[in-house]
Symmetry: C3
Subunit: 357 residues, 3 copies
């Protein structure tokens, strides 16, 4: 609630922050998001396509909703963050339509002071709700936050147990979703759930150079107020030397780059985990690589499956040149210097039998 944000010693397990500035998402946000990412996901592009599946129209892009909801948490949780360390257990629960208003809240679920005594890790579970009070999204993230008073006592360390992945049975499949009229021509590919196998790797050919005005426009659209993304003058004093690209926008761009090869991915059902491995800056060219982790049937649905995917975001290097996202240097493995994102997520995809119905 304070303009200077919260520091590590301000967080207490169990405290819930109700974040400011509810946001009505509209066709305007949807259009600008397409302009910022070039996304061609049919469910977010075409109202009749959405209606043919039982949706009320096209939906707001899953990651636009996520980034806007995430943006609300920044002032309370991460204005003084040193690093965003990870995501887990993100679930996409209700579709978001133009006209819906999102608000968000976060509960502290873990705390651990760093051994240096100058910072600590805060785990929060955040939830976004629409104007009808329905839970639309939830996710866990953990961030390293500075202390402002180093003399403040360390809290009892409490590290939450997090699932390695949202289980198939916990994925939300809209109950109204019907695929008997599914149009593979709309997405532009005939590859369906049945056509993927674990360990398959797709090097997506598309690349996109992101300039400073691109990522700052996106990050303002998300109403994310973290200063590292906007204030080039202040960033000159940091080791980065310039504005940092918001990691959530890196996810958005990489997801759009990964469209070709995964055209029939209907919607994102979960983000199981994610790491921003290296920073991105204006002028970087992003590429994407996808690896199929698991192919899941879904309880009660013979028309739809889930794919657990690993999305590797790469900067300034063709994806064919990255065989392993992690590399060994002197006996230690760490992320390849050009790998910027390692995202484990789950999509819903129609199964081949929808073509025969």
């Amino acid at each position: 609630m304070s303009a200077s944000g919260n520091f590590f010693e301000n967080f207490r397990i169990g405290v819930t922050f109700r974040h400011a500035t509810p946001r009505t998402l509209t066709e305007g946000d949807a259009a600008l998001y397409i302009g910022l990412t070039g996304s061609r996901v049919p469910l977010h592009s075409s109202a009749p396509f959405g209606q043919s599946l039982g949706y009320r129209g096209r939906t707001i892009d899953d990651l636009l909703a996520f980034n806007v909801a995430f943006g609300k948490t920044v002032t309370d949780i991460s204005l003084n963050a040193i690093a965003n360390l990870g995501y887990a257990e993100a679930r996409f629960i209700e579709p978001v339509y133009a006209g819906d208003t999102l608000r968000a809240e976060s509960t502290v679920i873990g705390l651990k002071q760093n051994s240096n005594g100058r910072s600590g890790v805060v785990w929060v579970r955040s939830r976004a709700y629409n104007q009808m009070g329905q839970e639309v999204l939830s996710w866990v993230r953990w961030v390293m936050v500075a202390k402002t008073d180093e003399a403040a006592p360390a809290p009892a360390a409490s590290v939450p147990e997090l699932a390695s992945a949202v289980a198939a049975a916990d994925l939300t499949v809209p109950p109204f979703l019907r695929l008997q009229d599914y149009d593979i021509g709309a997405a532009g590919s005939s590859r369906l759930w049945d056509d993927f196998r674990p360990d398959e790797r797709i090097d997506h050919a598309a690349g996109m150079t992101i300039d400073d005005p691109d990522h700052t426009l996106a990050t303002r659209l998300y109403q994310n107020s973290a200063r590292v993304h906007f204030d080039a003058l202040a960033m000159q004093q940091t080791s980065f030397g310039r504005r940092l690209m918001y990691g959530g926008h890196v996810i958005s761009v990489c997801r759009a780059l990964a469209f070709e090869g995964l055209e029939n991915a209907l919607t994102i059902a979960a983000i199981n985990g994610g790491t921003h491995c290296n920073p991105c800056f204006g002028g970087d060219t992003l590429y994407a690589q996808s690896r199929v982790l698991e192919c899941w049937e879904l309880p009660g649905r013979s028309d739809l499956g889930a794919l657990r995917l690993r999305l590797i975001g790469i900067k300034n290097l063709a994806p064919g040149d990255v065989d392993e996202p992690r590399v060994e240097h002197g006996g230690k493995t760490s992320y390849h210097a050009n790998v910027v994102l390692d995202l484990d997520y789950t999509v819903l995809m129609p199964r081949r039998r929808v073509l025969n119905s």
Copy 2:
């Protein structure tokens, strides 16, 4: 009406220009404006928040409406302007909603030829109307305009008397506005009208680097056709050497930067005066400083007060480093070289008693 615009000798006291290109403002404009400024003003962000106060929904940002209305006046009034000298008596009269269409007209209310005989100052009162013919906005501005025919006779000098501020009694408070359900959590601060005192100063921590594509995108959105903002090649021939940032967008950005600390400012009721003290260019980092000038009760409202504020826009220097916007050099005072905006404006803000109702 001419593509080459009007020159000083073309203006006559009392003549009214009806400006071209009415504009329907939509959710699309609202979204892009958030993208361009990062604005988090709740009334412009959330439809349910607006409805809880008696509005039909969220409203189009006051300054988006102002900049669009202003943009319409450029072709007739300031295409040949040498300088925008000031604003006064700007009143925000009716809320603007997505779907409303604005048109604008301007009446010449003052003329004074400069002693050099090559230019003069033109004062106009401009008004914007919605599609129902309601006056939505009005303002006075004065600009220095070149003569094209230096032999044209000087008009009788006529300088209008302008109020130093729109008086509290002249501020428009929407008659339907009700604050009994006012939600301070939506804005993210519990500081209300009662908590401000004249002479308080807020150095807003947020800074924003504005690149050329940012301000040109904004200025095109406003349909402002002044060439100094767009034509980098022609600007190379000027003393600036490059594109000038549109001053109205500087106001928009500084207002967004000044959000923290003034979160409960509901809406702008008036701009009492304003000066663009120094030019801004792509790459400049903007900061904002607010000073409270006056705290006004409002006739007939115990739930709402007005704050008259001074918004100082600063480039490339932290706001804490600007103690006085005007500095003395050799016995003369002039604006600090890093001060780009000195805006005197009035906002409406709920009073503490709304929390007890």
Copy 3:
């Protein structure tokens, strides 16, 4: 349908591609398009203006609809294009409103292998339909496409006959269009159809510098996936050395720059032909020059005429400095190095008698 696109040897005369990703166009797209171009065409700016002419509201900009429809054809037709050689017979048939969904298909109507055996020219007729199945737009374009298998046999050469212009009788005039309430004040000029004469030339004063983030934002909005516009790293390996500006956006910008002098051009009825004469890059400043080719009466309409215009797009040189778009060098004529667009198109414009009705 394949991520690597089609090569010359994959095209067969008569084959129709049904392109992916239908797109719902909204007020969001309309707003962003104004932001990207600064367009002030009244029919695309003001809902009441459109309604006064019999339209349901304001319409989606003709060129926004064209660029979006065009974008859909890229994956199937021109992902491996070496050059976009030309357009012809583009007809704007139905108005597009916010909420309409466009889909597109293309039929191969001509093929001719180049003498080098490594590429060939493909002619396609593309059509865009709205969600009601109405044909909204159609056009022919031809592109030079690489072969991937040089040993593939050359098809029988077949070059379609194309009209030099869409004839006046073939232009679509909306049957509901009524001009008795036409408001010349809305457009800001009293120059109507009767005031133009063949061979008139207008050097439009406005210029606009387009930065890389501008044209990439536009091209992503159009969901155009051609990599040459986005991937600066890959483009370093080409003779261009950097990202190419999408030619359709050059048309959009030049049309907006050509507004002054042609304010009463209601709508584009046809594109008769067009050439992207030289490439544009981020940082180029664009200007426009218009030449009146023909002034046509329209069958059955005494209130409306058509102007066939030639729009010359120029980079980095004032339009007054280009007397001839084509210049002679050593006995051969070719385009002036600063001319980037040569577009032959037809607009509808009210006739003077609407003022007396």
